[in-house]
Structure formats: structure tokens, C-alpha cells
Symmetry: C2
Subunit: 149 residues, 2 copies
DNA sequence: TCAGTAATCTGCAACTCGTGCAGACAAACA
DNA sequence: TGTTTGTCTGCACGAGTTGCAGATTACTGA
């Protein structure tokens, strides 16, 4: 994703207007590698701009996706996630806490695929599932078990 | 997925009962490579058993997934798809008509992954997007047709 | 064979995530 | 400034899925 200033120009070049809501969302997305949901962006945005609507967050994300400035990531179930990182990369999802992180896979577009059968396929989306280090270390809690009696 | 008869035994071994609804759904799934949705299974089931409820389809699919007899496939957006093929395989999705087909990818678990950083990841799920031969050759391609089983 | 019981089925409400819509509002521009 | 658009907000609605409760049915054991 380009910088907030560059996005402002890009929006105006398309005949779209610049608004405080959009500028705020540009700032919240810039350099954000947490793959936020619309809801999480809405919460953070509401902190700086009480009254901003969730509808506006969805609209702005849709605009940015349509312009190719961000990508919509789907990791199977749960709300959509938005990704200002448009590098050729893939994702690993913690099935315990839902965290999504970037991974870079080499040779992904040289995989030997059997069964395509004329199907015109483009680059694959690869999602690894697993458990993040944080969840792995807290899954064996020596203290504070919630279900002991 | 095992045969309907074997699934009957597996259900009974778990203290679950065998019902006409379950038997019908076992038959509709067996050898089915169309990655059907709950809704499409419900439509086909309703022909043979008017009055069967969509709720029962969802419940039975959830049971089968919990038992590892089928897999739930998510291809990003739209309803969940259910897959009696439990081989180690991946999927290609037609973005025009929604068709999902199996592909077999060699070397998928030997990919060089950068950024894992201690993240304990298992085998990846790979989804190719593209256009199927039918949609590519048709001048009036079906859009998310109801012909899926 | 036939109750007793426990699991199941069905119908509907409710829930999550996202979109359509309409009227108030505000950015761009002369 | 005033006019023209595009935008924001709030709400209703839609798709997909699950929770729930009462009626129903499959198994069990006499
Ligand atoms: Mn990413
Ligand atoms: Mn499959
Ligand atoms: Zn985690
Ligand atoms: Zn197609």
C-alpha cells in the first residue's frame, strides 16, 4: 500500500474526494502487518474519531481493494482481513488465537500440479495453519488453570 | 470418506443412531467430487426425502467433519464446502462459476518458508484461482450455477 | 414384542458478517 | 459563497450458520 499522501492523490485522480475518515483509515493501515478486520479497524478508528461508522470502514476497504492498494485475505472462517502488504507472499494462521502472519514461500509458482486439466489457474494462495509461539507457550500453563478443582 | 455401510458402523460405535436422513446424506456424499455446499446437498436430499431439514444437513456434516470422515473446504467467501476426499490434495476454484476441483500438488510440504519464526505450522492449504475450461470457452458463462451437487 | 430412554429431527429464532439504501452532510471548484 | 457531487451515517436487509425446544424416532433390554 502506498503512503497516505500518495493514496490521497490516487483517490483524487479517480474523482474521489478526500475525507478525514479516509485519511484516518489510511494512517491506520499504513505499515500495519496485523491483517486487521473491519471491526478491529473500526475500534481503533473510533478512538481517534468517535462517531465514525463501521459502514465507512467497509466502504473504504472495498475502495482500496478495488484500486489494488490492499488485498483482502481470507483464511477460512471468521471475518475478512485486510492486508496493505501487496508483496507476493502467503500466510500462516494460529488456530488458537487467530493471529495471521506473513510468510514468504520460494518456488510456489513452480509447483507440479496434477489435475488442472485445462483449468487456467493463476498464482496460488497458500495458508498454513498451526499455533503461534505465544499460544504454544501458554498452552501448558503451570499456574492459573481456569478449570481446576 | 468410508462407505455408507462403514459409516453406519462408525456412527453406532460412537453411540450415535442411524437414521434415514443420515443414510441418505452418506449416499449423496459417497464418491461425490463436486465439493457440495450444505444447501446443494439439501436440495438433492429433498428430492428423495421431502421434509428433510437444512438443519439436519448441517448437523450431519459437522458430525462427519468431527469424525474426520469428510473435510470442510473454505475457498474464500461463499458457503462452506464439504469434501469426502480426505487424500492429501488441494483445490482450484473457478472465479466465474464457483466450481471447485481437486488438484494434486507434489512437493507442497517441502516448500522453503521464510518468516515462520517459531510458528508451529502444519501442512499448507493451497487454493488456485482461475477459470475453468467451460467458462473459458462459453460466451454466456453460468455465474455460480445451481448445477453443483 | 414393547415400553423406556436417549439421541435426533424439525422449525424457527438468533447470531455474525457484510451490503443496499436514503437522507443528511461535506469536499471540490468556480 | 453557492452549486455540484460524492460521502457518511444509521438502519434494514441478506447470506450463511448455529442455538434451542418440543415432537419424534432409533435403540435397548426385559
Ligand atoms: Mn499478509
Ligand atoms: Mn477436494
Ligand atoms: Zn496464537
Ligand atoms: Zn467456471
Amino acid at each position: 500500500m502506498r503512503s497516505p499522501d500518495q493514496l490521497t492523490d490516487a483517490f483524487r485522480a479517480r474523482g474521489l474526494k478526500m475525507t478525514p475518515q479516509r485519511q484516518l483509515l489510511f494512517r491506520l493501515l499504513h505499515g500495519n502487518d496485523t491483517h486487521p478486520t473491519a471491526e478491529s479497524l473500526f475500534e481503533r478508528a473510533s478512538h481517534e474519531m468517535p462517531g465514525i461508522s463501521l459502514r465507512t470502514v467497509y466502504q473504504t476497504m472495498n475502495d482500496l481493494v478495488a484500486m489494488g492498494e490492499i488485498e483482502q485475505v481470507s483464511v477460512g472462517g471468521g471475518p475478512a482481513r485486510f492486508d496493505p502488504n501487496t508483496d507476493d507472499h502467503h500466510h500462516v494462521v494460529c488456530d488458537t488465537c487467530g493471529t495471521v502472519r506473513d510468510v514468504y514461500v520460494s518456488g510456489a509458482d513452480q509447483l507440479a500440479i496434477d489435475g488442472l486439466d485445462g483449468f487456467d489457474a493463476v498464482a496460488p494462495a497458500i495458508v498454513f495453519h498451526g499455533e503461534c509461539t505465544q499460544c504454544a507457550s501458554s498452552s501448558n500453563p503451570p499456574h492459573h488453570s481456569t478449570k481446576e478443582n
